[in-house]
Symmetry: C2
Subunit: 456 residues, 2 copies
């Protein structure tokens, strides 16, 4: 009996253990599956991420070769050769501009910081053995404090923050290690050359193996943001007047414009990166990166109006259908024409051509907004309460503002087109567009912009 | 004659040189004056910047003392002691949370990266002398690529990006330098302890000498943003109805709210920093940092409406004065009550008390918006064209939406108050407030929020 129960107990114990192990294995398998799914999603969202990851690994290996095989270099640099590896890891960024910016910052800061460190060290040498460390310490304190303070300056921060930090680093390292090792000049020289080797390897691999240009990212982001506003306006009228009987799943596509609201930071950092990049590929001329910021600003202005407009899609205050029907045609016209104009502008930016067809759409939208205003002037509304009209009137009035914003976006895109010397689309294509719209696009604006460049 | 002319030439030459030198000196003096002015402005904008700069210098000096005076430690660490200096320069940030986050990231990443590096090195040792570098190289490539890819994950990026980078750095350094120097374990140990010394010094100086807490910054930013909206609304009605005859220089103060539109990035990074900070000072309880993001989101929603509203301040479409006069009283009421509510809410956040007086203002604003709606119902406008009314009606309608937004802001602030267990303001003060407003604030909301916490 005892043995049987012992056997049972043992069996139960083993079963419990087995269950525990099974549970753990299950959890582990689930975690691995989760991680794999997340990784797959990350890679599918932007396949360039995978390429970038292997580029970083490759750059590290390339620089490590100095350690592995080149004995003369290794002997010359000693342990300092690891600075090349550190430089690669720290400096390698997603876009060429960001990498180049960091390399230039790091290189120049190491050069200047090294010179200052050596200078401070030489000066301190003239004092006695006891005073020297105190003098060096004080100068490091002062330099670190002054340069740290400089890092707060709004003009220096966006582009030179990293360089200022490396400057402090180099000065401190040389002043501090210099006290022991009297070959300060050698340290400074080795540090500079290892940083340059690491930086050169990073820039080389970043720029020549499937490069990602910040300028192109900015270019595409600007086009995509304008397109998102266009997509919202395309769907808005149908959604608001419920004429197209859209389904719920299509509603979600209308929320895409929301990312435009908070795009300022991304745009500014991309501009800062793009400024480091040389001319390349389709950006053959010096690009007017500042103009992209201007386009971004007016695009956001338009997005704020659209945000206010979107509040009326699911608002409690609803205008009765019969009143909405009165303004439906013109509002739909304004909305779709603005949408077409924005999508044309976006496509023109993408293709780097002049967006002449957009002007026709904007004229149409402006005409519709004029007609709407005159519709409001005629007394069509004596029998309806003002309270019923308000939401529809507000929607109409916001749409009128959006027409103005669209026109501003078009102006700034045209300005970009003449600053970057975009080509005109084929004359044949243009004719067919004009034929469709039956309104001649005004070219006056572009001429005046061309003029303003000559003056500049 | 010749000598005279030579003398004249010489005099002219000296004069030219002197002018050149004078010009250079002038330029130099101007540059110094400009720099000094900029520095003064930077320091006046935020005097803590000066303190922070000296704190950084102090931390570097403190860590350098290991070099200068402590021979046993220096001998133990060798050149690696500079890692402590590097850690200080790289890790010392403006706020305690940011510094602590970087130190924890760097510490843990160095520990894990060091372990993995040592492990990879031991494993590679079992293979032959020729295969070893290839195996090590491949493992570095693989680890670097996988971890670089992980850095793109949206959940890891905001808080652990720096740690992942240091992880790659440590693994590469140990694998690479390990090939030559067989005391890999020593390298890993020295690197970890120097990083810990540097990190500890940074955190100590950052947190104990006039600390700047990211949580407090976030708290103040949230309060300031709400206040800015309040200030705009305070001035708006007077500006729009031109009743107060404001001057141009006062108009500029109405543009302050614009910074709220793009505050999302700052708020998110402050939340990420604040999460690293321990409880301290007035934040005795675990703070619900996520709630600050919610408040920020509704504050921005309100700011977008205000942005749309501000377009009507200088709009071409102007409603005639007599029509505006009809809605002036109620619009002014809505605007000022919302303004008072927002300023109360902001003050309550600053003082960390419950914002009960704000509820009274919001009720008043809601009453005014109801009255406005019923004013629109009565036919006060038969003689006026709709086109004249539109801008005023849009302004009124945006103000009605702003009342809703204000109420949402109040809700989220009340939620924060109960999550962070804010105190009620003194009963006496509260009574006087209620007396003034003659409306009882509703406490129902807070009770329900208290309940929801219990459930959570």
């Amino acid at each position: 009996m005892k043995m049987v129960s012992e056997n049972q107990e043992n069996a139960g114990f083993i079963k419990n253990k087995w269950n525990l192990v099974k549970g753990l294995i299950n959890k582990l398998v689930n975690a691995v599956i989760y991680a794999a799914k997340e990784a797959k999603k990350l890679a599918e969202d932007d396949p360039r991420r995978v390429v970038h990851s292997f580029k970083v690994g490759l750059a590290i290996i390339l620089v490590s070769l100095f350690y592995y095989f080149d004995d003369p270099i290794y002997d010359g640099f000693g342990v300092s050769a690891m600075w090349a590896v550190i430089t690669v890891v720290v400096v390698f960024e997603f876009s060429v501009g960001a990498t180049l910016g960091k390399v230039v910052n790091r290189g120049i800061a190491t050069l200047l910081g090294g010179s200052l460190g050596v200078g401070a060290h030489r000066l301190a040498c003239f004092s006695g053995d006891k005073v020297e460390p105190i003098l060096l310490g004080l100068s490091v304190l002062l330099i670190a404090a002054v340069v740290t303070f400089m890092r707060f300056h709004p003009k220096l921060k966006p582009r030179y923050d990293y360089g200022l930090m490396i400057f402090i680093l180099t000065v401190s390292l040389i002043c501090v290690s210099g006290y022991r090792d009297d070959e300060v000049l050698d340290i400074a020289y080795i540090r500079l050359s290892t940083v340059l080797i690491g930086g050169a390897a990073s820039v080389f691999i970043c720029a020549f193996i499937r490069p990602i240009w910040a300028g192109e990212e900015l270019h595409n982001l600007t086009a995509a943001n304008i397109e998102k506003l266009g997509i919202f306006l395309e769907g808005f009228a149908g959604e608001y007047f419920k004429s197209l009987e859209r389904k719920d799943q299509e509603k979600t596509s209308l929320a895409e414009y929301k990312s435009v609201l908070n795009s300022k930071g991304t745009e500014e950092s991309l501009v800062n990166f793009a400024k480091w990049e040389p001319r390349h590929g389709k950006f053959r001329y010096r690009q007017p990166w500042g103009q992209y910021l201007k386009i971004g600003a007016v695009t956001r202005e338009c997005a704020y109006r659209i945000e206010a407009l979107s509040g009326y899609l699911n608002s409690e205050m609803q205008t009765p259908m019969e009143i909405r029907a009165k303004i439906q045609e013109l509002c739909t016209k304004m909305s779709t024409e603005c949408s077409s104009a924005l999508i044309e502008l976006s496509a023109a930016i993408k293709k780097m051509t002049r967006a002449t067809p957009a002007d026709a759409h904007i004229s149409n939208a402006k005409n519709a907004s004029k007609n709407l205003k005159s519709l409001f002037k005629t007394s069509l509304w004596p029998d309806s309460d003002l309270v019923d009209i308000i939401p529809a009137v507000t929607v109409a009035s916001l749409l009128i503002e959006i027409v103005c914003c669209t026109s501003q976006i078009a102006d700034s895109v045209h300005e970009l087109a003449s600053l970057s010397k975009y080509k005109c689309p084929d004359d044949a294509m243009r004719q067919s567009h004009i034929g469709k719209e039956k309104i001649l696009p005004t070219n006056g604006m572009e001429v005046s912009h061309n003029f303003s460049i000559t003056v500049e």
